[in-house]
């Protein structure tokens, strides 16, 4: 079975044109791969570039150098140089992402926020909602909230909507940016179970978890991001 995600020699810096063009190196020489059925965790202190790496791997940040090779619909694609249209296709069917914060859309119900990625992939709306209901129930989101737009939800409630939205699809690669940051212990355990189920289904997972208990429960391997901080020495 081919490796779903291979990162090789990726470098990223920010050029701040409003600050006289000063360049902030973020990471360099980032190289690792994730196997199917494995959960790797990016480790290192705040500011080491964990989030930047995750964002590049989702096409949200541009890549200065190197390649991000994704197994996408039977072929290999370099996400770093792919066209916007290809990146969108990869997001639709290959790479899922659970962000730290939910970007809410006014007037769309929590249930439809969660069902959205399935509907985008062409599943019928009712079937998608049924799966959304079961995930929201599993994550203990009170049923009376399901029909409401999540904009006014608490941080933990929004986070659970976000998690449900990320886990509802069967993307072969799933990225998690601190999915448990604002959850209580009971719901953290639910997320740990959800991650275990994804692993069992052969999904390749890559995440950032500051919560040590969760990290120990899910991580097969920790990738130390400080090893990629080459630019920092010069700066």
């Amino acid at each position: 079975m081919p490796t779903p995600l291979v990162v090789s020699d990726v470098a990223k810096s920010f050029t701040m044109h409003l600050r006289d063009g000063v360049t902030l190196p973020v990471v360099a020489g980032v190289s690792f791969s994730i196997r199917a059925g494995e959960c790797a965790v990016l480790g290192g202190p705040s500011g080491a570039g964990k989030s930047s790496i995750l964002k590049m791997l989702y096409g949200n940040y541009a890549v200065d150098e190197g390649q991000i090779i994704v197994q996408h619909e039977g072929g290999l694609i370099d996400l770093g140089s792919a066209s916007p249209r290809t990146v969108l296709a990869v997001r639709r069917s290959t790479i899922g992402y659970v962000s730290q914060f939910l970007r809410t859309v006014p007037r769309v119900s929590a249930l439809d926020v969660v069902a959205g990625p399935l509907v985008e992939r062409g599943e019928n709306r009712e079937g998608a909602r049924e799966k959304a209901r079961s995930l929201l129930a599993q994550l203990n989101l009170p049923e009376k909230l399901w029909a409401l737009p999540p904009a006014t939800f608490s941080g933990g409630e929004q986070q659970r909507v976000n998690i449900a939205r990320g886990f509802i699809t069967e993307h072969p690669i799933l990225q998690l940016d601190e999915p448990t940051a604002s959850l209580d212990a009971k719901n953290r355990d639910v997320v740990v179970d959800l991650i275990a189920a994804k692993k069992a289904a052969g999904v390749a997972l890559l995440g950032i978890f500051h919560d040590q208990d969760v990290r120990e429960a899910v991580a097969d391997r920790v990738i130390d991001v400080t090893a990629f901080a080459a630019g920092r020495i010069a700066a």
């Binding site: 701040m16 044109h17 409003l18 949200n60 940040y61 541009a62 916007p84 249209r85 969108l88 007037r107």
Partner: protein, 258 residues
């Protein structure tokens, strides 16, 4: 999803004498894609939109459109009558000021029905039923169907303009600052509505806006223009979260946080 674009634009330029309107703009647009064109006033974004929608002829460059029968047609080589027909049937144009896109002195129902008649529908009952359906889709009560848009609020007028444009099932819609000049609460409602319609109908759209929040909510792809040229383009979230060009960084850093 088809693998062929709907619109191909290559090296499009428009000069007003020696002044640059827009210069050397190229892109492809696929069905179902929403492209936002952002930049401050005078950046050439409206000139570009007017050239693309053939309301204005460019000085040089080409734009080809894939017709419903699959044939590619060069827009600036079509006859005036052909272009008008395209505009009435396969395209929509949503103006910033609804008064520019509506007929203010005929009823709301007639504003919607007129476009249907333009594509050959002559059955009064069917036209009225479709008009009622579209008014409800843009959240205008059925009992306002016989009122003139003059009696409508700004937000309602804009929703009516959208209904008028979408009733013929266009494949490509041009929008010029569709939420400009509206109160923020009205804007949010309109954006939701647009977002829903664009997704449900699988429309391709080119949206000109100076409002980056509007661009983020509506579009998947973005072009940033300055002084008539495209200074940066890419996925909307990439351009906004990791802006590369100096001008884009300035735009993004100028957003007020609330």
């Amino acid at each position: 999803m088809t693998d062929e674009p709907l619109l191909r634009v290559s090296a499009l330029s428009k000069f007003y004498g020696s002044r640059v309107g827009c210069e050397n703009v190229s892109f492809d647009l696929w069905p179902g894609e929403v492209l936002a064109v952002v930049g401050e006033s005078g950046s050439g974004k409206t000139t570009l939109l007017n050239c693309l929608s053939t309301r204005l002829l460019p000085s040089s460059g080409t734009a080809s459109y894939r017709m419903r029968d699959g044939q590619w047609r060069e827009l600036y080589r079509m006859s005036e009558a052909e272009r008008r027909f395209l505009m009435r049937t396969d395209w929509g144009f949503v103006h910033q000021n609804p008064a520019d896109g509506l007929r203010m002195t005929v009823s709301a129902g007639a504003n919607v029905g007129e476009r249907l008649m333009a594509v050959g529908d002559r059955h009064y009952g069917r036209i009225r039923a479709t008009a009622v359906d579209w008014l409800s889709r843009v959240e205008i009560d059925e009992d306002r169907i016989d009122d003139e848009p003059r009696a409508f609020s700004g937000g309602m007028r804009q929703r009516l303009q959208i209904a008028r444009n979408l009733v013929t099932g266009p494949r490509l819609v041009f929008m010029d600052e569709p939420t400009g000049g509206l109160d923020v609460s009205v804007q949010a409602r309109l954006l939701d509505l647009l977002r829903g319609l664009v997704t449900d109908l699988g429309l391709a759209a080119i949206v000109v806006t100076h409002d980056l929040a509007v661009a983020r909510l509506l579009s998947q792809r973005m072009m940033v223009m300055k002084d008539g040229r495209v200074v940066e383009s890419g996925l909307t979230d990439r351009v906004l979260d990791d802006p590369r060009a100096p001008y884009t960084q300035l735009l993004v850093s100028s957003i007020l946080q609330v």
